[in-house]
């Protein structure tokens, strides 16, 4: 016990019907301390966060604020007792302007504006409608609003997930500064590098229980992962088995001098069969547009795209699909039929081709679907609705179904965003397996450490143009980050 302790939650339990989300969760924060809350998906992190911030009431356990038992029955009450959350999804009202959003939470305007500047957002007007602002800006506004209300404890839930690297740095810096002034911070995140840079302690949750409280020091990563997974992680398993080898000399897809107004100015690269080609870029460098263009959502304003040696002009997503180019959007909800079963979702691409396949192939289809489900390791719930699966398992379905169907070119846009470590490590082998089958995979990820794990080569895009193509084998995070910032020229990365 220490005198500076601000928040102390202990013995928290919460059940939803028969499902025990939390069994015995605890967490404490003192003045000036930054505590990471970690746990694999399904460990009960988000339930715990909701209880601490008053969005849910616990079945048992107590929350002490400065040593006094607190009843935090709603987000408004949490706010009044000095506990201000920044949730993973923006909690600003899209149809109100910024000023009205501030009035809603009684946030003083002058400090808010100061924080917005401090956090690196320029040219914001209070009369801007929130719905018109980009996601990254919304996250920053959410944070600025929280900071402006001078919280005792700030809770950041995956704060940096949708932010470009430069804004991440600002956020970390400001958070550290405020902690040094005495604010307590609970930092929920999947990102080890941020946690080790920022946090003092880490509380690890597994299966609804707090299983460990770690002091952040070099090498703590392995210990944390071990606690999260509940078993000693075989470090060798981190190396994804890569049977290198592009098949043939003809590129599957050749992108030549593509420009898409206004963001993309000059992108060229080749993708070969059997290759996973990584895309490295800071937020908003034109990668969104590139993927949408390749998926047929919009045509390029200049340059050309060749598929299997033929120049193509996709006017509609159907054109891209017909040419064997399949797009898996970053938002899983866009790719799956949430209320249908895993089996149906995997078979969906088959069904779409049913007319040309005829009934004779039905048995064959069933076998391949069964194989894919087995391969995904979520077989026990294969009959359930996809929406009941965790985000990570949903993503496995969006990628894994192409294993069953077979695909020439797959575009994966940030498939591992917001997914826990364990599931991520099941996704990389899926991607590799696709490549072994002869697919070409274009793999954009916002987490640089994934590039050497999953890719053969990486295209670095900066400011709408390709600045480098790096051999993924030799690409450590630092090299990639320098390249992503457009700094390669002086030193040479590979």
């Amino acid at each position: 016990m220490n005198a500076n302790q601000i928040l102390d939650a202990s013995g928290i339990a919460k059940s939803f019907g028969a499902v025990k989300a939390l069994v015995d969760a605890s967490l404490s924060v003192s003045e000036g301390e930054i505590v990471a809350l970690m746990g694999a998906n399904g460990a009960g992190k988000s339930t715990f966060v909701k209880i601490i911030t008053g969005a849910l009431t616990p079945d048992s356990g107590k929350v002490l604020i400065r040593g006094k038992q607190a009843r935090v029955g709603s987000p408004a009450e949490a706010r009044r007792s000095g506990l201000v959350p920044v949730y993973q999804e923006p909690s600003l009202i899209p149809d109100l302007d910024v000023a009205d959003n501030l009035r809603l939470t009684d946030t003083p305007v002058a400090p808010f504006e100061r924080w917005v500047k401090e956090l690196g957002i320029e040219g914001l007007s209070l009369s801007d409608m929130v719905g018109d602002l980009p996601l990254a800006t919304l996250r920053i506004l959410d944070l600025a609003r929280a900071l402006a209300s001078e919280p005792d404890v700030l809770l950041l839930d995956e704060m940096t997930a949708a932010l470009p690297s430069d804004l991440v740095e600002r956020v970390l810096k400001v958070t550290r500064q405020q902690a040094d002034k005495g604010m307590g911070v609970i930092y929920v995140s999947h990102r080890f590098n941020e946690i080790s840079e920022l946090c003092d302690r880490a509380t690890v949750l597994r299966d609804g229980q707090t299983v460990g409280d770690l002091v952040i020091e070099p090498g703590v990563e392995d210990r944390a992962v071990e606690l999260m997974l509940g078993q000693r992680l075989d470090l060798a398993a981190r190396e994804v088995n890569k049977t290198r080898g592009t098949i043939g000399d003809t590129p599957r897809v050749r992108v030549k001098g593509v420009a898409i107004a206004p963001k993309v100015t000059d992108i060229s690269f080749d993708m070969f069969p059997g290759e996973v080609l990584g895309v490295v870029a800071l937020e908003g460098q034109g990668q969104d547009e590139l993927f949408e263009c390749l998926a047929g959502f919009m045509p390029p304003t200049a340059g050309s795209i060749e598929v299997n040696g033929t120049t193509t002009a996709f006017r509609h997503p159907a054109d891209a699909i017909a040419a064997g180019v399949k797009f898996v959007p970053g938002d899983r909800a866009d790719a799956l039929l949430a209320q249908r079963s895993v089996r149906e979702n995997i078979a969906l691409p088959f069904s779409a081709r049913m007319s040309s396949w005829g009934w004779l192939k039905m048995r064959h289809e069933r076998e391949r679907v069964a194989h894919a489900i087995e391969r995904l390791q979520i077989d026990t719930r294969a009959q359930g609705e996809v929406q009941r699966l965790s985000g990570g398992n949903q993503q496995k379905v969006t990628i894994g179904r192409w294993l069953a169907t077979g695909v020439e070119t797959l575009l994966l846009f940030d498939p591992t965003r917001g997914i826990d470590v364990r599931t991520k490590r099941q996704i990389y082998p899926l991607v590799r397996e696709l490549a072994e089958q002869g697919s070409s995979v274009l793999f954009y990820t916002s987490e640089l450490e994934e590039i050497p794990l999953a890719c053969d080569r990486a295209v670095v895009i900066f400011n709408g143009r390709v600045v480098d193509i790096i051999d993924a084998e030799n690409a450590d995070e630092q090299t990639l980050l320098r390249a992503a910032y457009g700094l390669t020229a002086q030193e040479g990365a590979a």
Binding site: S74, P75, Y87, E89, I93, D95, L96, D100, N101, L104
Partner: protein, 312 residues
């Protein structure tokens, strides 16, 4: 300045449309003048109040199918009370009654978690029965000054009926819109989860919004009593008409966007269209087809214009 125009583009468009229709009316019927305008405004009075009430609940993200029944309850209560007591206390009682009926609607929706459309459909029948219990057949009386107040025009070129709508809506809505409660209403309709997380008491906000709707229905009931001079227990055709005007008036079904000015102008537009079609001696059966077509057309054009504006 351009910001204000951008935010109110829909209302500006409706005003322009209204003006065009007025000119058209004058062209078809050169004798159309102040008295014609007055009768249009008078006829629009109960529609306008029903629409104002509906707009508030739609903005909060709900819907109230019982507006016409609540208006009937208020109309018969007003007629019964005014037979026995002075006008002003009777009016205050009726307004209170409307507010309470609305609170009951909202309270049931929030507490039972039964969908709003189901609760208010049930309440449509309940309030209809209540109205018949109060007054089995049309009867009662309306205070004379109230009947006179909606006729003629005190302000030059502005029919009294129109001034009354403007006054009642302004007195209730403008302070509300500017208060934190008003922002909460828009917040709840726009994104309920985000509103909850921002500390809005979502349930209470909804209940109050339904209460305000009930109060506008009370104004509507009073205007019905003033128009006819008696209380009529059977609900009039105000439900669908109010939904139509709300949509035409730029309030987004689903909540969070729009205001009260647009829907009220939309009421006037729909009334004038009806007048024009009557003047042209169009078959009444065709009239409703034309009204429906105009609604879809205007909303479609408006959406297209908004989308184009957003892309710029």
């Amino acid at each position: 300045m351009s910001d204000i125009i951008k935010k109110n583009a829909w209302v500006a468009g409706l005003v322009a449309l209204l003006f065009v229709l007025l000119v058209l009316t004058k062209a078809i019927q050169p004798s159309f003048g102040m008295s014609g305008l007055e009768s249009v405004a008078r006829a629009a009075l109960p529609f306008a109040f029903a629409t104002a009430g509906m707009a508030v609940v739609v903005i909060v993200g709900g819907i109230d199918l019982s507006v016409a029944s609540m208006m009937a309850v208020c109309a018969v209560t007003a007629a019964v009370l005014m037979e026995r007591m002075a006008g002003v206390p009777a009016i205050l009682i009726v307004l209170g009654l409307g507010f309470v009926m609305g609170l009951i609607n909202g309270g049931l929706i929030v507490l039972t978690r039964v969908p709003d459309i189901v609760v208010t459909l049930a309440m449509l029948f309940v309030w209809e029965g209540v109205a018949l219990l109060i007054l089995e057949s049309p009867g009662g009386a309306t205070t004379e000054w109230l009947k006179q107040s909606i006729r003629g025009s005190v302000i030059p070129f502005v029919p009294n009926a129109l001034a009354i709508i403007a006054l009642c809506v302004a007195v209730v809505w403008i302070p509300l819109r500017r208060s934190k409660l008003g922002i909460s209403i828009y917040a709840t309709g726009s994104d309920e989860l985000a509103a909850f997380r921002s500390g809005v008491a979502v349930g209470r906000t909804k209940i109050v919004a339904y209460g305000v709707c009930g109060m506008f229905c009370a104004f509507g009931g009073l205007s019905l009593a003033s128009l006819t001079g008696i209380g009529e227990p059977v609900p009039g055709p105000y439900l669908m008409a109010s939904v139509a005007a709300v949509v035409l008036g730029g309030v987004v079904l689903g909540g969070g966007r729009g205001g009260l000015l647009g829907p009220i102008i939309a009421v006037l537009i729909l009334r004038i269209v009806r007048t024009i079609l009557t003047l042209l001696a169009v078959d009444p059966n065709v009239t409703t087809i034309i009204e429906g077509t105009i609604m879809v057309g205007v909303v479609m054009l408006g959406t297209a214009a908004t989308l184009r504006g957003a892309r710029k």
